[in-house]
C-alpha cells in the first residue's frame, strides 16, 4: 500500500487520554450562575423569590404573612394544575387551547351526574374524569393520526367542548350549599387545613404533588424522554425509534385527565359547579408555562419552571392588589411585569451561560 493509504495508521499511536481543560475558578456568584445554568428551572424560582422579597419589603406583614402567602398558593392551584397539563402538551411542541373547556365540562359532568342523574358521587367523579380523558383522546387522535395542527384541533375542541357544556348544563349552576349537603366529595379539593396561620387546601397539595410526579416521570422514565424527543424533532424521534403517534395521543389524553382533575379542584375552589368558569384558563396556563421557561417550540424546559411561573403571576397579582392598584392599573402592571420577569430570566440565563 502506498503511503497515501497508509497515513491513517498514524492514529494508532495517539495519546488516548480525554482532553482536560482548566475549569475557571468561579467564586460564589460564578458558582450560582453555573448552578442555574445546569438547572434552568431554577431561574424562574430566583425571579419568584425576588418578587416575594420585593412585595414583602413594600407591604410588610400584610403580604409577608403565612395567610397571604398561602392565599397565593390557593389562588394559583387551578392554574398550576391546568399548567401541568399544558406543559406536557407544549413540551411536544403542541398547544392545548381546550384545557379550560375540558376543565369546565368535566366539572359540569361530575355535577350533573350526581344531581341530575342521581348517580353515586364517586361514580360521577369517574365519569367526569373519563369525559376529560376522552376529549383529550380526540385531540390526540386528530393531531397524531390525522396530522392536524394542534392549535386548530384544540381551538375547535375548545369551542365544541364549551358549547356542549352550555347546551348540556342548560347554563345551570349547581349551588354550593346543595353540594355541601348532598355530595361533599365534589368539594374535596377545597377542604382546608391549617398549619399555624398558614391555610392549605387539598387542591394546593394536589397541585404540588402532581407537578412533582410529572417532573419525576419526565425526567426518569422512558415515556418522559420520548415526550421531549417528540417535541424536539418529531422526524428524528420517529427515525430513532420513538412511537411518535402513541406518545402524542398519550400526552393529550393525560392532559385531558389532568384538566378533569382541575375541574374537580375547581368545584372545591368555587364551591359550586358553574358552567361559565375557566374562560381564562388557556391564556393563564400558557403564560405560566412560558414564564416558567418552557419553549413553545417544544422539547425544552421543565415542569417545575411552570409552577414557579404560575406563582410569579400569583404574587404579582395579589401584591399589586394589596398595594391598592385598581383593576386596569393592575392589568397594565402585570403586563409589564410578565415581560420583566422573562427579561430577568433571560438575563440570568445569559450571564450564567
Amino acid at each position: 500500500m502506498s503511503d497515501s493509504e497508509n497515513f491513517e495508521q498514524g492514529t494508532k499511536r495517539g495519546n488516548q487520554g480525554v482532553a482536560k481543560f482548566d475549569r475557571p475558578n468561579r467564586g460564589m456568584i460564578g458558582t450560582l450562575q453555573h448552578w442555574l445554568h445546569v438547572n434552568p428551572a431554577l431561574v424562574p424560582l430566583v425571579v419568584l423569590v425576588a418578587s416575594i422579597a420585593v412585595f414583602g419589603a413594600l407591604l410588610g406583614s400584610k403580604f409577608f404573612s403565612p395567610f397571604a402567602l398561602t392565599l397565593i398558593l390557593q389562588q394559583t392551584a387551578i392554574v398550576g394544575i391546568v399548567g401541568a397539563a399544558q406543559s406536557l402538551v407544549i413540551l411536544t411542541a403542541g398547544i392545548d387551547l381546550s384545557v379550560g373547556a375540558i376543565m369546565v365540562l368535566s366539572s359540569v359532568v361530575m355535577g350533573q351526574a350526581t344531581f341530575r342523574y342521581g348517580l353515586p358521587v364517586e361514580f360521577a367523579i369517574v365519569c367526569g374524569l373519563a369525559v376529560g380523558t376522552f376529549v383529550g383522546f380526540l385531540n390526540g387522535w386528530l393531531i397524531a393520526i390525522m396530522r392536524l395542527p394542534p392549535f386548530i384541533v384544540t381551538l375547535g375542541m375548545w369551542q365544541i367542548a364549551l358549547a356542549t357544556n352550555f347546551l348540556y348544563s342548560a347554563n345551570e349552576t349547581i349551588r354550593s350549599q346543595d353540594i355541601a349537603e348532598q355530595a361533599p366529595l365534589l368539594q374535596l379539593f377545597g377542604a382546608t387545613f391549617k398549619v399555624g396561620e398558614a391555610v392549605f387546601t387539598v387542591g394546593v397539595i394536589f397541585m404540588v404533588l402532581l407537578v412533582a410526579l410529572l417532573a419525576y416521570i419526565l425526567k426518569h422514565t422512558a415515556w418522559g424522554r420520548h415526550v421531549y424527543a417528540v417535541g424536539d424533532d418529531p422526524d428524528a424521534a420517529e427515525l430513532s425509534g420513538v412511537n411518535v403517534k402513541r406518545t402524542l395521543i398519550s400526552v393529550y389524553m393525560i392532559s385531558g385527565l389532568i384538566c378533569a382533575f382541575a375541574g374537580w379542584a375547581l368545584i372545591g375552589r368555587i364551591g359550586s359547579v358553574s358552567p361559565t368558569s375557566g374562560q381564562l384558563a388557556n391564556i393563564e396556563s400558557i403564560t405560566a408555562v412560558v414564564i416558567g421557561g418552557i419553549s413553545l417550540f417544544g422539547g425544552r424546559g421543565s415542569i417545575l419552571g411552570m409552577l414557579f411561573g404560575a406563582l410569579i403571576v400569583g404574587v404579582f397579582t395579589l401584591g399589586l392588589r394589596l398595594m391598592g392598584a385598581d383593576a386596569q392599573w393592575t392589568y397594565l402592571l402585570i403586563g409589564a411585569l410578565i415581560i420583566g420577569a422573562v427579561a430577568v430570566d433571560q438575563w440570568i440565563r445569559k450571564v450564567s451561560a
Binding site: K62, F67, A68, L71, Q74, Q75, I78, A163, F166, A170, N171, T173, R175, S176, Q177, R269, I270, G271, S272, V273, S274, P275, T276, S277, G278, Q279, L280, T317, L318, R321, L322, G324, D326, A327, Q328, Y331
Partner: protein, 314 residues
C-alpha cells in the same frame, strides 16, 4: 376604613360609572375604595380571588356585581363570616339573601317596559312583527335572560322556560344572536339576522352599544328608518341615540345611585353595625328603572330624552 368594589368588568361604561360614583361617595365619607374587576364578563374566578384579597386586606365591606350569581355565594359567606358587609349591586345573588343587601335595577321590569312600548308603538301591526333578539352571550348570564324574557313578556310572547332565552316558538321571532354587549357584536348579529330575514322590523338589544351596532347594520342596507330598536341602560350616549332616533326607547338604570347607596351602607355598618333595609314589598332595594322615549305610548310611563339626559350616567 376600606370598602371594596368588585364589578364584572371595568371596561363596560356602566361599571366605570358605578366605580366613579363609589369613589366620589367614599372620598366624601373619608373611606378608601379599592376596586376590582374581572377581565371579561363571566370571569368568575377573578371575583373569587378579589373577595379573598379584600378579606386579607381587612376591608369593612364589599360591593359586588357577581358574574356567577350562585357560585359566588360560597366566597360571599366566607367574607360575611369574616365580618364584612356584602352588598350585591345591579345583579342579585342566587339566593338573593346570600348577600346582606341588594341594590339593583329590576332587570325583568326593564325588559318588560321596552316590550310594552314596542307593542304599543306597533299597535295592530304587532301581530305581523318580525323580531330580532340581540342577546349578550351563549352562557346566558342572569341579566341577559331577565331583560330578554322581560321584553318578550311585555310584547306578549309566550316565554316557554323563563330561565332561558331562545326556546320560544313564536314565529314572529326571526332569531336570537349574541353581541357580547358591544357595537361590533351588535352589528354582526344584526347582519346575520337580516340575512335570514331582511324584513325585520323590531330589534331588541341587551344594551345600547349593541343597539348602536345594530343600527349601523340597518343603515348600511338603508332600513334604519323603518325598524324599531329598543334597549336597556340609559347611558348618556344611549339617551343621545334616543334623541337622534337611533333607539326608539330604552330603560334607564341608575348605577351611580347603586354605588353611592352601597358605600353609604357600608359606612353605616362600619360605624355602628346597622344594615340597610329593602324597598317596600321587594326583597331588594330597587334603585329604579325609567323608560326613555320621545314617542310615548299610552299606558306605559316614560320620560323624554331631554329629561333622560339629565339623569344619564356616562
Amino acid at each position: 376604613d376600606t370598602v371594596c368594589l368588585i364589578t364584572k368588568t371595568d371596561t363596560n361604561p356602566f361599571f366605570v360609572k358605578m366605580k366613579e360614583g363609589a369613589e366620589a361617595k367614599a372620598t366624601e365619607l373619608g373611606m378608601t375604595l379599592k376596586s376590582f374587576a374581572g377581565k371579561i364578563d363571566g370571569d368568575h374566578e377573578t371575583q373569587v380571588a378579589a373577595i379573598e384579597t379584600c378579606i386579607a386586606d381587612g376591608a369593612k365591606g364589599i360591593l359586588l356585581t357577581a358574574s356567577d350569581t350562585s357560585s359566588i355565594t360560597g366566597s360571599v359567606k366566607q367574607a360575611r363570616d369574616a365580618g364584612l358587609l356584602v352588598i350585591a349591586l345591579d345583579t342579585p345573588l342566587d339566593p338573593i339573601d346570600a348577600a346582606d343587601a341588594t341594590f339593583a335595577t329590576d332587570n325583568f321590569l326593564a325588559g318588560e317596559l321596552i316590550g310594552k312600548w314596542a307593542l304599543g308603538t306597533l299597535g295592530a301591526e304587532a301581530a305581523n312583527a318580525k323580531i330580532a333578539m340581540l342577546d349578550l352571550g351563549v352562557s346566558q348570564p342572569s341579566v341577559d335572560v331577565l331583560r330578554d324574557q322581560g321584553f318578550l313578556q311585555g310584547f306578549g310572547i309566550d316565554l316557554a322556560d323563563p330561565n332561558k332565552w331562545g326556546d320560544e316558538t313564536d314565529p314572529r321571532i326571526v332569531g336570537n344572536d349574541v353581541t357580547a354587549g358591544n357595537e361590533e357584536g351588535g352589528r354582526k348579529a344584526m347582519e346575520n339576522l337580516l340575512a335570514k330575514d331582511p324584513m325585520i322590523n323590531v330589534v331588541y338589544t341587551i344594551n345600547e352599544p349593541a343597539a348602536a351596532g345594530a343600527y349601523e347594520a340597518l343603515k348600511s342596507i338603508g332600513r334604519e328608518k323603518d325598524v324599531l330598536i329598543v334597549s336597556v341602560d340609559g347611558g348618556c350616549p344611549g339617551v343621545a341615540n334616543v334623541r337622534d332616533g337611533v333607539i326608539g326607547a330604552t330603560s334607564q338604570q341608575y348605577p351611580l345611585l347603586m354605588a353611592s347607596k352601597g358605600v353609604e351602607a357600608i359606612a353605616a355598618w362600619a360605624k355602628d353595625g346597622t344594615k340597610p333595609t329593602n324597598t317596600e314589598g321587594k326583597n331588594f332595594f330597587d334603585t329604579g328603572v325609567t323608560l326613555i322615549t320621545n314617542t310615548p305610548v299610552e299606558g306605559v310611563d316614560s320620560i323624554d330624552a331631554a329629561k333622560g339626559a339629565e339623569l344619564c350616567w356616562g
